[in-house]
Symmetry: C3
Subunit: 166 residues, 3 copies
């Protein structure tokens, strides 16, 4: 038996863990489990939904901007009470994951996303958003959490009032 | 050399096997190899194509509903004889795979899908269906087969008569 | 500790390497780093962008047809000088990767792609192309390079003048 390539294997197992995290993260959004979604973030997490145009020009203005899990939770449950939230199906498709471990124990990662929605009055799936997660992960008591998530979307126009986390 | 994390590695290899299975499954559909497609199923397999609306309400009514590989084959080859089947290109995109081995040796899995189609009279790709496979895999003589596949689509409306397996 | 399944593991590590290569390849295109893109190819690489219709009939006529890295570079930088290239966002989504190592040390691979674009005058993302990479990889001084890439797109019609590599 040839020796196991440990470093490549460790990198692959970390990548797999991030991939599983992201899959579960968007599954929570797609089934509207916002309590579970909030739990994906670290205590002091930063979360924003921002246009590629603003992101690339270093303009911090975003559709959503939250500092800390408490603010993320406030935002999520405010959304649940709006009339717009309910009658739609969402489906996130992820791809193009890349993962870079940092010396300080955090992990930088990226993934592309498409968000499809189906509405009662738009009954075929349409593309709501296309873009990229730009993330920093950290461990909180052994568990992987989002320390930073920037949802950078390519759209210059968003078809409906975006009142959902991404 | 640090010890190889065996359980995580076994999980990863199983995940890779399911991923390869799904990639081959949809490649068969995209090149209209329906004989190969039927062969993906176990002898007593259950296969259905059902709306998310009906699935979430536990209404079993689906567009396609097959019990057993013989019924799946009948359905596939009946479709080949319909006029609608031929002149189109299909392309399945998969993502968001999750895999959970069960104590009885079967494997539960999920994956999201987009099905694109190109028609002679609709020459740009459009989204035919968006949804999720909800699966149970089992081994038949060592080979991985689908024991159950539920194709749950988000569409409230399907643009053309859906006369194809998914 | 049970023995490590070496062959499956080596296959998985190779697959991961190809996946990372493809992710980086399209990231370069999406940020318009054409110098980096050209560097993905081997010295004597073959690169073509061709319709599924022509590909399946063995008609070699494609939108883009390049033999050798010099010709690929010429093509890329000619494109940069055209008026069409600038004001758009591109986003490649990859999936359905399959990888087959060959006896001669090269690697055959496939992956599906969607290319989304956002234009100033079409501000919601739309699907520009859907298709498949059909590739041969080789190592040049230890580094993985594309020896052949055929970008086979399903579209019968392309919405805008395609003046970009895929």
């Amino acid at each position: 038996m040839s020796p196991v390539p440990d470093a490549r294997l460790e990198a692959l197992l970390l990548r797999t863990e991030i991939d599983a995290f992201n899959t579960e993260y968007v599954a929570k959004l797609d089934r509207q489990d916002l309590t579970g979604w909030v739990d994906c973030f670290a205590e002091n997490a930063f979360y924003t939904v921002i246009s590629r145009e603003n992101f690339e020009r270093n303009h911090p203005v975003g559709l959503i901007y939250c500092e800390g899990r408490a603010m993320i939770a406030d935002r999520a449950f405010a959304l649940l009470k709006t009339a717009m939230f309910g009658p739609r199906y969402l489906r996130h498709m992820l791809s193009n994951l890349s993962v870079v471990p940092e010396a300080d124990g955090t992990v930088r990662a990226r993934a592309n996303f498409i968000v499809f929605e189906v509405l009662m009055d738009w009954p075929e799936p349409r593309v709501l958003l296309v873009g990229e997660y730009r993330d920093v992960f950290a461990r909180e008591g052994g568990t992987l959490k989002l320390k930073e998530r920037r949802c950078v979307y390519d759209n210059l126009l968003i078809p409906t009032a975006l009142c959902i986390p991404i």
